[in-house]
Structure formats: structure tokens, C-alpha cells
């Protein structure tokens, strides 16, 4: 038999039918739905008299536009409230399970899927959201789709798709202290560019990847889309199985034993060929900070803001000049030392419990700089509860951070959490596009440890020089 990649195995197992014109009808095991990209899809079903084919494989949550303040206060934004109500109505009418604002399991869709054990190796998972790639950390083929395709999946439980190509990102070596999964993926995007993986599914391989925890793997796969990829994948292993064990929606009993055995065998065959290969040495990666308005505009923290003329093509030079103007930066400026006004610890990239722990270790015993407003928005209510159990909320609050309820929040600023024009923000999210966090806002992407350090220092700093405090519960955590 021809050796097959992990991607190919999952793809082949989900082909319902090959259409004569080329693409395949792919079966979807799990369809995640949120309030912003679904109302038109449900409306489309109503209009055509169609129904949700498999409500049992469809899960809904609210995350994008939800307020992160007090849950007991009615939602101030009537338009956002209307969208939340629409999802509630659609879910009820279609018998789709919904994790709403009252649910202890509410959270960012890409945080709660894994947390509940809904996300499992070998699945095909889709969601009307580009960061669906996050679920690829479990060896699931997971990709973002548009609203028309959401409607298509609701109606048919299938998606029409052409087979993407494969790209192996082989990451060798071990990252140094203070270098996070976020730095690895930012460095990779810096290397291959924001369209470097367009039309491809990335499989991340190599010892640096194998050594990552599940949460770190999610950070890596999450940002596959920022490299242009259709999806990101990491083969399941003991780490994956250990993470899923005992999760509420993971298989139980004999089914669990069977599934776990299968999952551990699910990987690319030796000698399987990828269409493209890229390599990165984790040991050579320093903490990364973006300087521009695209995630590929990224440098080491010790680096300097580039000059537009450093770029080879006229288009890139124009883009760099525009980005510098928007970001209020001049060529040659050092990134380290750049003052920040806001710090955002949150998003589906970096708001899981490990992210909050490392940020708390940086922050403990310090104060947020007086001119900085800093915000922690846990990725889910479960993450929030866990963090509070560990006393992390106290560390953040005592340092001067605001401690919020879960949601997408300032990752995209659809709720009240936005930057003011000209404000500079150290952010653990995934997109530094113009206006992403608020019109005129200036976003620098970085890891949770780097963002936490920036909050304390009031400027961009290299976290590698810092001594990390122990956490109150660190003895129990370690055991």
C-alpha cells in the first residue's frame, strides 16, 4: 500500500462520494455553531423548508459578541442581544444543544470543544469560523467555512470540498526557556508568510511538536489560518489521549479503550509524502512580537522595526510603509521598550488554563504599570472556574488586571472591549489587522508570558530575563 499522510487517512475515511466534476462530498462528524455566522444559515433553511439533518452532531455556543462583564446585567447592546436570541431560537427550533450565557460550559467555541471532549482524533470538524483549525491539535481535520457552507452542513451533514494539498512543518529542537508555542507559530508564519500555506493542510511534526502539551498544540494549530492554511494537524499520541481521558463528551468504558487504541495508531505512515515541506529549529526561536498589521510582520523581541526598502517587491514595500504609518512606528526603532497602553490576555489562541498560569507566574508580586489598562478574559467559563480555584484571579486582580467572564472580547472587539484610536496593545490573540481590536487600535501579538511582562513593565520587554514566581497551588499542580 502507498504510505498515506494523516491528512489523507482522515480525508479518505470521510469521502461519502466523489462528484464527477472533481471535488468530494465529505462527511462532517462535528459541526460547531456560533451566533455571528449562523443566523443567515438557519434563515436559509427556513426559507427552503429544509431542516437540520443531524442536530445530534451540531453544537452551538455564544462567544463572539457576548459581554464579558457581569452576567446578571442585561445585555446593553440591543443588536448583539438580538443575535444571541436568534441563536437561542434557532437552536431550540432545531433541537441543537446550546451552551448559552447561563451555561457553566459557555466559552469560545474553540476552547469548549476540546474542553468537553467533543473534539476527538480522526474527526472532520467544521465551524463558521476560521480558527476552527485549533481542533487540528487532536489529529482532527478541522476547518473554517462560510455561512453558505454552514447552511449546507446543517442541511446535509456534508461539505463539498476539493482535496487540499499537504504541507509538512517539521519543527526540530527544543525551545529555550521563556519561548512559547505562540513564538514557534509566529516564527513559522514570519518565515513562510501569511499566504505561505494557502490551499494546504499543514501537518506539524518533529520533536518540538511532540513535546508540546495539548494546550500548546492548540495554540500552534489555531494560527495555521494566519499562514493561509486550510487546516493544521498534529498526530494524536499519549498526550492527546491523556488530555481527553474522562472528559464529559469523550467515549467512556469499553468504547474509550477501543477509541484510545485507534487514536494512538492514527498518524502519517513512514515514507508518506507531503506536497511541500518547511523546517524550523525551535532552539533558534526567540520570543516574537508583531510590528505591523499582518501576522507575518513579526520579529524577535530584540529586533528592530524594518525599513520598507528591506522588502523585495513593490507590493510588500507599500504594505510595510502603510503598516508603519498605521502602527505609529518608524523604521529602525527597537521593539523592546515600546510603551503599551493596553494588555489583552485572551482569545482562542491563548486563554486556556496553562496560558493563564504562565501569565500569573510572570505577574505575581508585581503591579500593572500605572498607565496600562490590562484585561484577562478566560477562554471559557470552565477555564475561569479552574483559574479561580487555583487563585490565579487573585494574582491578576491584586496586580491590577480586570478579571472577566469568557468570550472573544477584545480579540475582535465586537462587544464593548475595544481599543481607542492610537492605543497600543500587547495582545495574546491572533490577528493584528488594522482596526481588529478597535478602529485605530495598534495591536502587537505575542505570547501570554510576554504580554504579562509588558503589562508589568508598561512596555514591550523580553520575558526571558524574568524570574517566574511560584503559584499558590503549584505543588498540587505539579503532582
Amino acid at each position: 500500500m502507498i504510505p498515506r499522510t494523516l491528512f489523507q487517512k482522515i480525508w479518505d475515511a470521510h469521502v461519502v462520494h466523489r462528484l464527477p466534476e472533481g471535488p468530494a462530498l465529505i462527511y462532517v462528524d462535528l459541526h460547531l455553531v456560533h451566533e455571528v455566522t449562523s443566523p443567515q444559515a438557519f434563515a436559509g433553511l427556513r426559507l427552503t423548508g429544509r431542516r437540520v439533518r443531524r442536530p445530534d452532531l451540531t453544537i452551538a455556543t455564544v462567544d463572539h459578541n457576548v459581554p464579558t462583564g457581569d452576567r446578571l446585567v442585561p445585555i446593553a447592546d440591543p443588536v448583539a442581544a438580538r443575535q444571541l436570541e436568534a441563536l437561542e431560537r434557532n437552536a431550540r427550533d432545531s433541537s441543537v444543544e446550546l451552551f448559552d450565557l447561563r451555561s457553566p460550559h459557555q466559552g469560545i467555541v474553540h476552547v469548549i470543544g476540546p474542553e468537553l471532549g467533543l473534539t476527538q482524533p480522526g474527526m472532520v470538524i467544521v465551524c463558521g469560523d476560521s480558527h476552527t483549525s485549533t481542533h487540528g491539535a487532536f489529529g482532527a481535520l478541522a476547518f473554517g467555512i462560510g455561512t453558505s457552507e454552514v447552511e449546507h452542513v446543517l442541511a446535509t451533514q456534508c461539505l463539498v470540498a476539493s482535496q487540499p494539498r499537504t504541507l509538512e512543518a517539521h519543527i526540530i529542537g527544543r525551545p529555550g526557556t521563556g519561548v512559547a508555542a505562540k513564538d514557534l507559530i509566529l516564527a513559522l508564519i514570519g518565515q513562510i508568510g501569511t499566504a505561505g500555506a494557502t490551499g494546504h493542510v499543514i501537518e506539524y511534526t518533529g520533536e518540538a511538536i511532540r513535546a508540546l502539551s495539548m494546550e500548546e498544540r492548540m495554540t500552534v494549530c489555531n494560527m495555521s489560518i494566519e499562514a493561509g492554511a486550510r487546516a493544521g494537524l498534529i498526530a494524536p499520541d499519549e498526550t492527546t489521549v491523556a488530555y481527553l481521558a474522562g472528559r464529559p463528551r469523550a467515549p467512556q468504558g469499553a468504547a474509550w479503550t477501543r477509541a484510545a487504541e485507534q487514536w494512538k495508531r492514527l498518524r502519517s505512515d513512514p515514507g508518506a509524502e507531503y506536497d511541500v515541506g518547511v523546517a524550523l529549529d525551535a532552539a533558534a526561536v526567540a520570543p516574537q512580537v508583531t510590528w505591523g498589521t499582518s501576522p507575518g510582520m513579526v520579529k524577535d523581541i530584540a529586533g528592530r522595526v524594518p525599513h520598507p526598502s528591506d522588502f523585495p517587491t513593490a507590493a510588500e514595500q507599500r504594505a510595510a510603509a502603510r503598516a508603519l504609518e498605521y502602527m505609529g512606528l518608524a523604521p529602525g526603532m527597537a521593539l523592546e521598550g515600546l510603551p503599551v497602553d493596553r494588555v489583552f490576555l485572551g482569545s482562542c489562541t491563548n486563554a486556556r488554563i496553562e496560558d493563564l498560569r504562565v501569565a500569573a507566574r510572570v505577574v505575581r508580586g508585581h503591579r500593572v504599570a500605572p498607565h496600562v489598562r490590562a484585561l484577562v478574559v478566560p477562554g471559557s467559563q470552565q477555564v475561569k472556574v479552574q483559574a479561580e480555584r487555583e487563585g490565579l484571579d487573585r494574582i491578576f486582580r491584586e496586580a491590577g488586571f480586570e478579571w472577566r467572564n469568557s468570550g472573544c472580547s477584545m480579540c475582535l472587539g465586537m462587544n464593548a472591549d475595544i481599543l481607542q484610536p492610537g492605543e497600543r496593545c500587547a495582545s495574546t490573540s491572533n490577528r493584528n489587522f488594522e482596526g481588529r481590536q478597535g478602529r485605530g487600535g495598534r495591536t502587537h501579538l505575542m505570547s501570554p508570558a510576554m504580554a504579562a511582562a509588558a503589562a508589568v513593565a508598561g512596555r514591550l520587554v523580553d520575558v526571558r530575563g524574568w524570574t517566574l514566581a511560584d503559584l499558590p497551588g503549584s505543588l498540587e499542580l505539579a503532582s
Binding site: L25, T37, G228, R318, A319, G435
Partner: protein
Amino acid sequence: MQPFVRHVGKAAALPRTNVDTDQIVPKQFLKRLERTGFGPSLFHDWRYRPDGAPNPDFELNRAEAHGATVLVTGANFGCGSSREHAVWALAEHGFRAIVAPSFADIFFANCCQNGLLPVRLLAREVDELFRRCRAAGGEYWLTVDLEQQRVEDGLGFTAPFPMDPYRREMLLRGLDEIGRTLLEEPRIAEYERRRAAGTAP
């Protein structure tokens, strides 16, 4: 879906790369429940100044761009968020085709779902269109022919473009993809039976 066979229309140039869907429709406009009403928010933060007045520096606000139905732009157009609202806004504004060296995958699929034709040309061909568009000073017309898979300006520029046969057929005939897939219902049901029995591939 509105079919796309052949379109003759005025071109407007937006010579920027990596135009993301957050620029095409900023998030504050994503709260609608309908597929309509997004035209006015197209490129909002570029098109309007913070005080709401049109920004005269923005390419599409210039007189030459008024009435354009073919957008010529840079590589990796439509990157970022999966929001189909971006496509709805472009279509509602009047665009019928977008010509660029490359598109982000999800955006490309979203275009095809809405009869807005994404046309991939070589980077040097797009550069040539930028040049011609600029030189023509506002009266530059393009013919985008999906049947022939070709872009022409009637002044010597002609270039073929790729489109996979499935999407081409859907676009040419303006087919409802869900209706098409529902014809495969027996196959879907059969797949589900095999899955449940543990005999799927």
C-alpha cells in the same frame, strides 16, 4: 444564486496586498441577521473618516472608481476571518468579479457561493491591469468571461484564468449547492449506516 456567465464592467484598482475580511466588513457591522444591508459598511474604516465623512484618499472613493463592477486587487485578498458578510458587502456594493493574483481559501469558496466571481491571474498580469487602469483614468472596462475562462480589455490585454470544473458549472448555471447535494441523500444515508456498523473506510 445569481449565475455568472460573462460580465462586461468598469474596473477599479485597489493595489493593496493581504486585504483581510476585517477591512472588507469591520466587526461592528456583523450583528445583522440577514444577508443584506452590508453594502454601506464595505471597507468602512477605509472609506469613511472617523467623523463619518468620505475619505477622499481611499482608492474606491475616487471618481474613477464610481460605478465599478470589477475589482482589481493584490495578492491574498480576503484573508483572515471566514465572515461571508465580506462577500455579501462586495456584491451588494455592485461588484460582480474580483481579479487578484491569489485569494484566501475560505473567501474564495464564499465568493463562489454567492455568484461573485474570484478571478486568479498571474501577479504580472494584475500589475499590468493596475497600470492600464491608472492610465485610462476612470474609463477602463474589462470583460470577464467564465465560459471561456478569460479576462480581456479589448485593447490587447487578454489572460486566461483557472476555475475548477465543479465551481464553474455551479456558477454558470447559478445552481443551489444544497439542492444538488440533497440528490445524494441515499449515499449520505448509506455512509451513515456503514459508519454506525463500523465498516466505513
